[in-house]
Symmetry: C3
Subunit: 399 residues, 3 copies
């Protein structure tokens, strides 16, 4: 047996993740540390199988439904790749071209698209207070549908980004960090700067900063959230971050100085987002159909953003980090000064230096998604991985 | 062998459906009673295989093309699920983003999208006199293409809704009724009320009411078609319904009273549709490019609809049905009063009570589509089902 | 073993195409004659397998990404069919609905969509000087991504049409000619008329005429390029055609008379295109965002086109060809006079007479694409084909 795979399987045997079977993945902080560890481990094992040209198809047929309530290339492709790796066909529900927009209830649509679906991936990050709730409604609906014999299976939900968390992104980010640092045990004591950065566009989702502080605080790291006055994230997630840090032996602090956050940081994650309160207001305006109000809010927010153009990941700031050499993370695409915009989140030279690392960071996402599905669908993941390897079906032949 | 599956296979051996092999499915009334029975039976058998985790992949590769000349979530997903169950990849041709709109002839497109296609599913229900004709043109074209050696196979057409019939919907509806009633033999003598209902939107297709009266009259049932003055369906389909009823020992009657239709009914199917004559006129206006005329017609039809707001499936009307407890059918989505519109086809409390039943009704559609494909593509369906079971390839492993 | 297949495999053993392994397909003139021969041969072999119901799945899973920077039904379906034949799932990147439009760099997107991609097919034919360059950028990016361990495989590029060449189209065209003529050896000495034809639309890509003169000059044929004054194609491709002709013992000539080109021709390919210089100007105008200039240019070009309505493939002109009976080629869809437009590229009666031949011509494209993939992905194609046949896995069972 492949040594690396053997190691992953051995590690899985030490973890308790029995409650993931048959369940869904909403938020990282609803999962135990061992459950998250299982996701990282299975993701690595699936990647190892693929690198060794061993098929990981646990499905002969079946559908992976994706529902995107926002445009998305990367997440769409990551989800399609994960489904394909396991033998599922991804089938997209794009709201704009479906009847879902014409007043169909969530419950009905959830069942109608799930007749042969093993997995449902949803991205719904635009309106505060809505995305995660919508995902729960979908899961409740298909659970009822399954219990009533309408569906032959309960599809597993994978949260592909909601208003609260972005678990597949943040776990991919962390998988990358773990690999770069050389193991989960190396995380303890490291300083992470999750900081706001200026972008000429507005209204970027809060799910990444929230997901990062909700996840990275669980490993004994020192997580600093930095943003200008008024750019708060959801208070409930800050509470979770603080509790996580206390439990893991790390810290969670806040600052309104980007420089302070970068000081001696091992990892920096400078990224734009919209103020929580503004997003809440926008949601209310959309509810009220107040398009004039929305336009006014947008103008206001752009002006507010423009006051903080100095919040950018410059070469100068990077020098303040540990050995001037911190890991630079971004969920991509980034607003790169002089490249994708006049002024943005990061200097072009910084981005350039980290490009390979950033792409590698992104490369973990399909495996994280596949691992979440695997753990929900496979009774004994360790044994299944071993059997997949010993069966040794080639993913690709004659090469 | 699974007892249920054994029963289905035994039943198939008593039926003559030899003419379905290599053929297409346009209209239910072009098929014999035994052929329809074969569709129901194979649909049940395929569902049984899936529920027992046995792969029904009869294709290792191949395409199922879908051509939608109208938006559709549910039918699209049902077709994708049916194709996936059998091992085909569904590939959508969306007219709006293809060259088909730029004057390409039907014949050419039909061949161009069929090079490796085993199945073509078409939805074309908008214009009276067009949809079914279009499907025949496509089948004629690919038949010629096959005979000329252009295509390696003649793709099988599945009518996913035309201007005349909606066979996959109505057969799914009836499969549900058969299961609820406890067998095809229980249909005889039952009263079915196919009735118009008010909807604030206009121009809903006639294919469902037509499909229902064309199909349900074949089983000795008493089918009543109810609608306000002026909401006639195609006369040719009414003739077929009458002939069917005469042959099967049932009846086909008409009324302009919803209450009369509901009186003592075993099954009610209240649903909005547009008057046949108006749809014919609209088709002519579209042909003439008379957008002003279309707008005027729309206004007229909405006003005409509004005269019949009392045509709604209320609790009061439901009380008139057999034991106040008839089966309530709908193809979904329904216009539910106070939920999806101010006033619509059905009271919210009625809809709520039947929700599980309605979802189960819909759940038959992917299997009906798969059965139509199976019967057209498999030489000896009974034997094939038996072999699929005895081979016992798992659809999903390690669970 | 199937005799035909045996012949293909024997022929492959005589060819040197070792450099195609792991590589990409940009332009036909970048490939050796033996390499092109290998593509034709593998295409025939794959078609032979399919006609004999033998699975050609060399992939158990994996993605074939398609990037279309222009609408396309036929190419999209051909690519999907080719991928499906080999076991890959095609996944489309449609620029308009992705983030690619929002300033993402090519390099980034190329990697982000390629995490589990074995193949990338790109169509980018609109702007002179751009399409082929874009394809190279994508290939460079994924090659770097592979070398850096970001991607587990280097996806193979298949050029589905660029500004310079349309290799899958022109090779399908030639595959058809070879089959009709009875072998590659029959091409020598044949006269091919690649001629401009009038179309009421403007701005059709140059890639087909360029691809045809760049490819057909390699087989000892007499290739004539005919167009009105001012409708030149790229000078660099004319140079290549001339050099090819010199090397192959054929000729490459130009004329401004359609009649002269048709005179005694064995093959005619009358098709509209835009002047190279105008397309270059249009690209500059798009770069400058000069929409007024674009509108003016369009008007100018339409007027210029209208001066040449006599450039049409009429019955009269067809009579001038060899025995009045030349092969008539078109990449479809054609502008057919009195059918798809008032006056166009070809008389309806000519088109009608060649319809079956035209559809057969198109039917080679999926196999050409599949062969390009096969040769890039399979180490020993001849042996692989033999093993696929001897394994004899059914593509379709129970029929």
């Amino acid at each position: 047996m492949n040594k690396k795979l053997q190691g992953y399987i051995a590690h899985l045997s030490e973890l308790d993740f029995s409650k993931m079977y048959g369940r869904d993945f909403f938020l990282t902080w609803e999962k135990s540390g061992q459950e998250l560890d299982a996701v990282f481990t299975v993701a690595d094992a699936l990647r190892c199988l693929r690198e060794n040209n061993i098929s990981a198809r646990i499905f002969d047929s079946g559908l992976g439904i994706s529902i995107f309530r926002d445009n998305s290339t990367r997440t769409r492709f990551s989800f399609a790749a994960a489904c394909n790796l396991l033998g599922l066909k991804s089938q997209d529900l794009d709201e704009k071209k479906s009847q879902i927009a014409h007043g169909e209830t969530v419950r009905e649509t959830a069942n109608m698209v799930s007749f042969m679906a093993d997995v449902i991936g949803i991205r719904d990050d635009m309106y505060i207070g809505r995305g995660n709730r919508y995902m729960h409604q979908v899961v409740d609906a298909v659970t009822e549908g399954y219990q009533a014999g309408i569906l032959e299976q309960k599809p597993t939900l994978v949260n592909l980004q909601c208003d609260i968390d972005h678990p597949t992104q943040c776990m991919a980010d962390l998988a990358h960090v773990i690999h770069e640092m050389g193991g989960v045990d190396k995380l303890k004591g490291k300083k992470v700067a999750m900081t706001w950065a200026y972008s000429p566009s507005y209204g970027k989702p809060l799910s990444v900063p929230q997901g990062v502080i909700g996840l990275m605080t669980r490993f004994g790291m020192h997580v600093v959230l930095a943003h200008p006055q008024g750019y708060d994230v959801m208070p409930q997630v800050e509470k979770i971050a603080a509790a996580n840090a206390a439990a893991s032996g790390g810290t969670f602090t806040r600052t309104t100085s980007m420089a302070e956050a970068f000081e001696d940081a091992d990892i920096v994650y400078p990224k734009s987002w919209a103020p929580f309160a503004a997003m809440e207001k926008r949601t209310q305006l959309y509810d009220a159909g107040d398009s004039e109000g929305i336009a006014r809010l947008e103008e206001q927010l752009l002006a507010q953003n423009a006051d903080h153009k100095d919040w950018t990941c410059s070469e100068e700031l990077m020098k303040k980090t540990k050995n001037g050499n911190a890991m630079y993370l971004h969920c991509l695409p980034a607003d790169i000064s002089g490249v994708s915009c006049r002024q943005g989140e990061v200097d072009a030279s910084v981005f350039d230096r980290y490009r390979t690392s950033l792409y590698r960071q992104a490369s973990y996402k399909p495996y994280i998604i596949a691992a979440m599905i695997f753990l929900a669908k496979v009774k004994d993941p360790g044994q299944a991985l071993a059997q997949l390897e010993s069966a040794g079906a080639a993913r690709r032949r004659f090469f």
